[in-house]
Amino acid sequence: MTDILELAAGNLISPIILSFVLGLVAALARSDLTIPEAVAKGMSIYLLFAIGFKGGAGVAAHGIDTTLVLTLIVAGALSFGLPFIGYTLLGAMSKLSTIDKAAVAAHYGSISIVTFVAATSVLEAQGITSEGYMVAAAAVMEAPAILSALWIVARAGGGSKGTVDAGLYREILLNGSIVLLIGSFFIGAITGEDGLETIAPFIVAPFQGVLCLFLLDMGLVAGRGLRDSRGELGLPTVAFGMLMPLIGSSLGLLGALLAGLSPGGAALLMTLSASASYIAVPAAMRVALPEARPSIYLTLSLGVTFPFNLTIGIPLYTAISTAIVGG
């Protein structure tokens, strides 16, 4: 327990976390500090490319082990399944409408890639290795949760007037993050260590620094979101935003044991399960479930769960996975 607390404390005073806090404080204090949209998008492309490439190069170096397929299946199942748990839990805890509940649930089945990136940084700092193909697991978990949410609404007769068409499915499956993550994973896997070496001064050395600036922006956006939606989130909903990651990560741990992942891989699967989407799912919700309120789902995902995972969650999941899987 003290171990976990120490880890958490050490994690809290890293440049990464403090950059997020700086953004949060600046936004809450109503500073006009902003990072241009194009630059923020550029940094997210950089992070996706780098993390995908490194994952692929890792697979090239260590080979594909038998757990790969199992991991991807487990990951897909988690993304499909978690929204049902989230929806039920929200039904018990909050008074949100059917559509709002389903939309929130979709976010928690899907993943936040920055949370994943932050977790890999923590693992690296502690010298814990993990399976390179975990980035493929991340990509697999992006989309299924959206289908579950649409199915929940359809079954509940939620009656959304939103647009669910072929275009929507293409947008979900071929959204930029998935394509870039998978694509750079393959480039890394094909070009291997040699490829990594040529571009390491770009994707490895400055990675932590870019992550700092990116988290500064996340803090700014989360802070502005919290300020704007002040009062809209009830206390029970906020509680959900911290309880759900714990449930998600527990199921992630179970899945990791089933798939036979290493302690590092298990920590990452726990993090993925615990994290909530704030890009792919919100975009899909605007099209498919326009009645769902972004001030609920985005604030919860970005303003509550993201900081929760960043500060408390990741060290906790790492400690638990090392204790249980590594034991």
Binding site: A27, T34, E37, S160, K161, G162, T163, D165, G167, E171, L220, V221, A222, R224, G225, D228, S229, I279, P282, A283, R286, V287, P290, P294, S295, L298, T299, L302, G303
Partner: protein, 103 residues
């Protein structure tokens, strides 16, 4: 300079629906339009801005369409079908255009 009557239709809509709107417009025979970026706004669904990209995925756009008056109804029907379930506004102004053969 010879001028010709036209209607200027301005549709403010979520960026995620832009391609659906323009597809519907083409379906209604409207092939000329211009898309302007939007920096922020406020409406019944609250306030948002590009800087605090939190309350709406990728923001909104303004689609401006100059059209011959007799084709206005077809355009509005097509546009409304896309806009209706979503947030956003549609406005129409009387206008005149040069080079009528382009419309």
């Amino acid at each position: 300079m010879e001028m010709h009557d036209a209607k200027r239709v301005e549709i403010i809509i979520e960026a995620a629906l832009e391609s659906r709107l323009t597809t519907a417009m083409r379906g209604a025979g409207v092939t000329g339009y211009t898309v302007l970026p939007v920096k922020g706004g406020s409406g019944r669904s609250g306030q948002w801005s590009r800087a605090g990209q939190v309350t709406r995925g990728s923001g909104m756009v303004a689609v401006v369409c100059l059209i011959r008056p007799d084709r206005l109804d077809a355009l509005l029907d097509a546009a409304f079908a896309v806009v209706e379930p979503h947030i956003g506004v549609v406005s129409i102004t009387d206008a005149q255009v040069l080079r009528a053969e382009r419309f």
